[in-house]
């Protein structure tokens, strides 16, 4: 499901019911790489030399365009807790948001938030 904040009301569109569904990003990439007619939908970090990323509304997905929100389909990773953050979980969240943590995530193809 893609939510597009186009006008005053959000436009909600669905995946076509006859679209293929795979259980992982990797499997989608394999299909696209093997089938000349395929278009797939995967995480930015998984785009490699065997597949080509496409521009949406004339905007190519790059670290900058996704970060600025110019590229229309980006998603955030969320940390969920029960409200009480113990010290171990707290340290982990702090580390993820620290420059070292952000660097590690960027190397895996994710986009920094700092």
């Amino acid at each position: 499901m893609i939510e597009k904040q186009g006008g005053a009301e959000p436009v909600i569109r669905y995946f076509a019911p006859d679209a293929l569904v795979q259980d992982s990003n990797g499997a989608v990439r394999e299909i696209v790489a093997a089938d000349p007619a395929a278009i797939g939908y995967v995480s930015y970090g998984l785009v490699d030399e065997r597949v080509r990323a496409l521009a949406l509304n004339g905007v190519m997905p790059t670290t900058e365009t996704v970060r600025s929100g110019k590229y229309p389909v980006g998603r955030r990773f969320l940390f969920l807790t029960t409200g009480v953050v113990d010290s171990t979980a707290g340290h982990f969240i702090d580390f993820t948001l620290s420059p070292a943590g952000q660097q590690a995530l960027a190397e895996e193809g994710l986009i920094r938030v700092d």
């Binding site: 499901m1 669905y14 019911p17 006859d18 679209a19 293929l20 569904v21 795979q22 259980d23 499997a27 394999e30 299909i31 093997a34 089938d35 395929a38």
Partner: protein, 279 residues
Amino acid sequence: MREKLIEKGLLLVAFSAVAMIFLIAAFIFREGMPLMLKVGITNFIASTRWQPGQGKFGILPMIVGSLEVTILAIVIGAVLGLSCAMFLAEFAPRWSVRILKPMIELLAGIPSVVYGFIGVVVLVPWIRTVFGGPGFSVLAASIILGIMILPTVIAISLDAFNAVPPSYKEGSLALGATRWQTLSRVMIPGARSGIIAAFILGMGRAVGETMAVIMVAGNALTLPVSVLQPVRTLTSNIALEMGYAAGDHQAALFATGVVLFVIIVILNTAALLITRRRR
């Protein structure tokens, strides 16, 4: 005293296996039934729209998909498996039986991901280039499942052939029937209940298989009209979405499990009735 203890112990273990089935059934019904009643049982099993985010839970395409894939798989498995069992029972020289039987049993030990992987790498591209369509299809899933159920079909129908009294076969041959006539007119009717049981047990395996099917079936949500179209089976639906489902969505997956459970109970009951009646 010791004798009694062992007897009671074994009885307890035997019943704990049965208790397990009842616990599983009770659990999936408890989790799934409330949602099924909320959206309406007819609506749940007869509606074609599955949009969990919008509260639309219709699993008809998956019921049809599961049945299509299973029936086609059992046709493929029955033709190959029965031919193989007939050869092993009647025509194979003893040395070849000694090689073939363990090999077929080995087929049962191959993990389903491996079957799925071979399907993705070899079968799917082949179907795509030869027949067109996306390749991920009812056909791909059925062929993979047809091969996966071979060990079950072969082993049980072979046992059925071996259980036909040798005097039937000897009598037929002595009356001047050829080996093929003996096989088709005496052995197959004699082993009929066992052969049907073999097909139904194979069918049970095909309905329940998940991993290999997810990999080659394409998992689309449409009702598959052609064998070249992608399909999502009941088991695939549960396995694909359980990871990120919550609330009603998760309950709907349990309800999918309820439907699957009912289908499997029907199949097994059919197997029991057929084998009992023929004897």
